[in-house]
């Protein structure tokens, strides 16, 4: 080949200059405007900004900057007055709700009893088909307006969980929505909340500005930007570089490192999300999967289903060293669980204890149950739903191996997993349950499955105990809190005693912020700018 001639060099030079100009044009500094905003990063964006359009933690947390509820779930989970100043039962089925005076929506419209009732009716789906809050409005929706700031709810039958359910229903301006339409409102909402929406660029940012007339007093942080940053490492990087002030959802593996960083604060709190193992309680023997088929799918063909025996379920409980799983797989994040609701939930039974880790005891129980050499099965798990769920699946399998249960791990994406579990394609599986409402927990998770009657939807292992069902029915209409608490505690003893489900641990929520930012982490995982202070 010939060496390059000067003319050629000239051409290359020109090209290089062109490239440099193009690249340096792209390198112009970013606008400094973003710097003044308080930036919160979540993992995902809000699915919708209609306060009744989607029941999912991130969406609700973002929306609660804009909306209020009649009753507010405080930082520690206790119910506090919000748009309602009081709620009192005047009979077994009737409640009187008194509203706060002088509250206005962001457009200046006053908030009244009629407005509150309209919003509750919309949540029930009657005037908004796409409402995802329908299951919090199962009480008979009969309302009577007493005056501008007082109304009465007739629940039809005794409904002790009414306040807890009202705390999940955002008050939206129904008259305004009628004018603009549901779709427009979902992109451009107004509420009574601490912040007003400035701009929403989907999947990029939501800008909020303080509502100076907020009834609780204007929030101290005036301009907020909420950003969805899906990759954990990128969220953490944004915090380290100083672009982000508060990050929701720090991975446990990063938390320890961030705690060692003097420029940052890390906040941890236990959440309602409880990870559990559950079992096939109804099929007699193993065999291949068929829709509505007779076989327990994870058990080899012809072998009996061992999980029908209580001693086998106890052996599994003794065989799993949950604190060790949390220390290793979860990097020390999470608390061992004794029931499917978190300690701060109403009805929680403080006396319940976990069966201790004891390999010898587990092996003995297996032998007594007729499986001295253990058995083969499968353990199904999602791998993209809970924190480190895939690795947890492998670790559980490894621990069960030590007591003689050969449980092949079968982690799958949640989209596939939940469908297969609902169809009964398992013998034993790991999943999570995330509510602090004890009533729905029992009726959907532990009640004998009867889909026509609307109970037992999540009872995929078909646990059935008529005594539990009966107790549940009785408890759910008791209006006296103390009595109801005692009855729920009894119900927990029964289902956990049976090992209907084996609770493993409650997940933690981890938030990290810059050093000058302080907040109290919420048990319901919301991160609200109005609860944050900046020094």
């Amino acid at each position: 080949m010939n060496p390059t001639k000067p003319a050629n060099r000239n051409f290359l030079l020109r090209w290089a200059i062109l490239a440099l100009v193009a690249l340096s044009l792209a390198a112009l500094p970013a606008s400094s405007e973003a710097a003044k905003k308080f930036v919160i990063a979540f993992q995902g964006d809000a699915a919708t900004l209609d306060g009744q359009g989607r029941n999912e933690t991130t969406t609700i947390s973002i929306q609660n900057h804009i909306f209020d509820q009649l009753i507010f779930q405080g930082i520690d989970g206790k119910l506090e007055p919000s748009l309602a100043v009081s709620w009192k039962p005047i009979s077994n089925t009737k409640w009187v709700i008194k509203l706060r005076k002088g509250v206005r929506f962001h457009n200046g419209t006053p908030f009244t009893a009629q407005g509150a009732v309209d919003a509750l009716i919309r949540a029930s789906g009657k005037t908004f088909k796409k409402s995802q809050m329908k299951h919090y409005t199962k009480w008979q929706n009969t309302f009577r307006i007493i005056d501008d700031l007082t109304f009465e709810i007739d629940t039809g039958k005794p409904w002790p969980s009414l306040p807890a359910e009202l705390a999940r229903l955002s008050i939206v301006p129904v008259n305004h929505i009628k004018k603009v339409g549901d779709a427009k409102f979902a992109r451009n909402p107004i509420g009574t909340g601490a912040y007003k929406l400035v701009e929403w660029v989907k999947d990029d940012h939501i800008d909020l500005v303080a509502n100076e007339n907020y009834w609780k007093g204007a929030p101290s942080i005036k301009n907020v930007r909420i950003r969805p940053v899906p990759v954990n490492a990128a969220r953490t990087a944004g915090l380290l570089s100083g672009e982000i002030d508060a990050v929701w959802g720090i991975a446990p593996v990063d938390a320890k490192r961030l705690e060692a960083n003097p420029k940052l604060n890390v906040y941890r709190t236990i959440t309602a999300r409880t990870i559990y193992l559950t079992f096939d309680h109804w099929r007699k023997e193993g065999g291949p999967y068929k829709k509505n088929g007779p076989y327990s799918v994870g058990i080899p063909k012809g072998k009996p289903n061992p999980f029908l025996k209580p001693k086998v379920r106890q052996a599994v409980a003794h065989g799993l060293n949950v604190p060790e799983l949390l220390r290793t797989v979860m990097h020390g994040s999470g608390e061992p669980a004794t029931q499917l609701n978190p300690p701060f939930a109403f009805g929680y039974n403080k006396r319940l204890k976990r069966l201790p880790y004891n390999v010898a005891r587990a092996k003995k129980l297996l032998a007594e149950a007729g499986f001295p050499k253990g058995f083969e099965t499968r353990v199904d798990c999602p791998n993209d739903r809970y924190i480190n769920d895939g690795p947890m699946c492998e670790a559980i399998s490894g621990m069960l191996d030590r007591i003689g249960i050969k449980a092949t791990p079968n982690p799958r994406p949640k989209a596939v997993f939940f469908k297969r579990m609902s169809r009964g394609d398992f013998s034993m599986f790991m999943a999570g349950w995330g509510t602090d409402l004890v009533g729905p927990t029992f009726s959907t998770v532990f009640h004998t499955r009867n889909l026509k009657a609307g109970v037992g939807r999540i009872n995929r292992g078909r646990y059935s105990n008529p005594a539990v069902d009966a107790l549940m029915k009785k408890t759910s209409v008791i209006m006296d809190d103390e009595q109801r608490q005692a009855m729920w505690e009894k119900a927990w003893e029964m289902v956990i005693g049976d090992l209907a489900f084996l609770p493993l641990y409650q997940q933690e929520a981890i938030i990290a912020t810059q050093k000058n930012v302080s907040l109290k982490p919420r048990i319901n995982e919301w991160l609200l700018a109005q609860e944050v202070t900046v020094k």
Partner: protein
């Protein structure tokens, strides 16, 4: 030309039909969107009502026919998760992806052509060896890792550039740069091998024999003849990136189509996935057409054929 466009138009209808059928069929195996949409405390009754409201209680064939019928009227359905028309969600994201991809492709083309030419004309020289080994690394490094390293180095350690999001031009540099890296490596190799091929041919020797300046020989006679395969590959690269630079968009929280489609597949948001598939095939068809047309500018023989 008109005949060509006409033929392409009818072909593309067939492509749309085939794509929609394949994507629809695949979605049926993916899982159950209702299961994912339900709040945990929801009852069976809620589930049945939701399934009916979304039309998912009907047999697959009926669902598909209904989809086609609505699609013909320009209605691709309402997103399950966002509650707004699915097509608008996809279209909203085209500019962000376009901005990212065009910048990345432009950077890589601007850099790759001179680098490829130099590598070829100095075959075995120092620059050639640097470019070759560099491009090998560029091709082998996973884009996810490159993105994270870029964020770490330029965002966290040096603090020069924002780590994520879309905003000013500064936000564009890291994602576009990490996206360009692979294409750059690919294009350098493409230009280099094309040039080596052409430089050995007789017409190049005869051009040199005529006494033409080396730059004229290299750029006018040789480079032009390597451009056809280059344009083809660049076009394909651009098409697949416009469908969504999935990994890069996710790492840099870039609000483009790639992030939308990944989220939508994970959540089984059928209307969004279907809309995305149709938009993407339209983009592919369009780019292929542009590539075909551009051949005729580079190579006059294509025009007469």
């Amino acid at each position: 030309m008109r005949k060509f466009l006409f033929k392409r138009f009818f072909q593309s209808i067939g492509v749309f039909l085939a794509v929609s059928l394949v994507v629809f069929a695949m979605l049926q195996f993916a899982g159950d969107p209702v299961e994912l949409l339900m709040g945990e405390e929801g009852s069976q009754e809620d589930e049945i009502r939701l399934r009916e409201a979304l039309g998912l209680d009907k047999p697959y064939v009926v669902q598909y026919v209904l989809f086609l019928k609505n699609a013909l009227r320009g209605d691709l359905g309402i997103s399950y998760h966002h509650g707004v028309p699915a097509m608008s969600l996809v279209i909203e994201r085209i500019p962000a992806t376009m901005e990212l991809v065009l910048t990345a492709i432009l950077i890589s083309i601007i850099l790759a052509i001179p680098m490829g030419v130099v590598a070829a004309t100095h075959r075995g020289g120092l620059l050639d060896r640097i470019f070759l080994s560099g491009s090998l690394r560029g091709i082998s490094a996973p884009p996810f890792w490159i993105g994270i390293v870029f964020i770490l180095v330029f965002g966290v350690v040096l603090g020069w550039l924002p780590t994520s999001g879309r905003g000013g031009l500064a936000h564009l540099i890291l994602p576009a740069g990490s996206l360009a890296l692979y294409r750059l490596a690919l294009f350098i190799r493409l230009v280099r091998s094309g040039m080596l091929d052409v430089l050995g041919q007789e017409y190049v020797t005869s051009a040199r024999a005529k006494g033409l300046a080396e730059s004229v020989v290299v750029f006018k006679h040789a480079l032009k003849n390597t451009l056809i395969p280059f344009i083809t590959i660049a076009g394909l690269q651009m098409g697949s990136l416009l469908a969504g630079a999935i990994v890069t968009e996710r790492v840099f929280a870039w609000p483009g189509m790639g992030r939308l489609i990944l989220d939508s597949i994970q959540k089984l948001d059928y209307p969004v996935v279907m809309s995305w598939a149709l938009v993407t095939s339209a983009i592919f068809i369009l780019i292929n057409m542009l590539v075909d047309i551009s051949y005729s500018f580079v190579d006059p023989r294509v025009r007469t054929n």
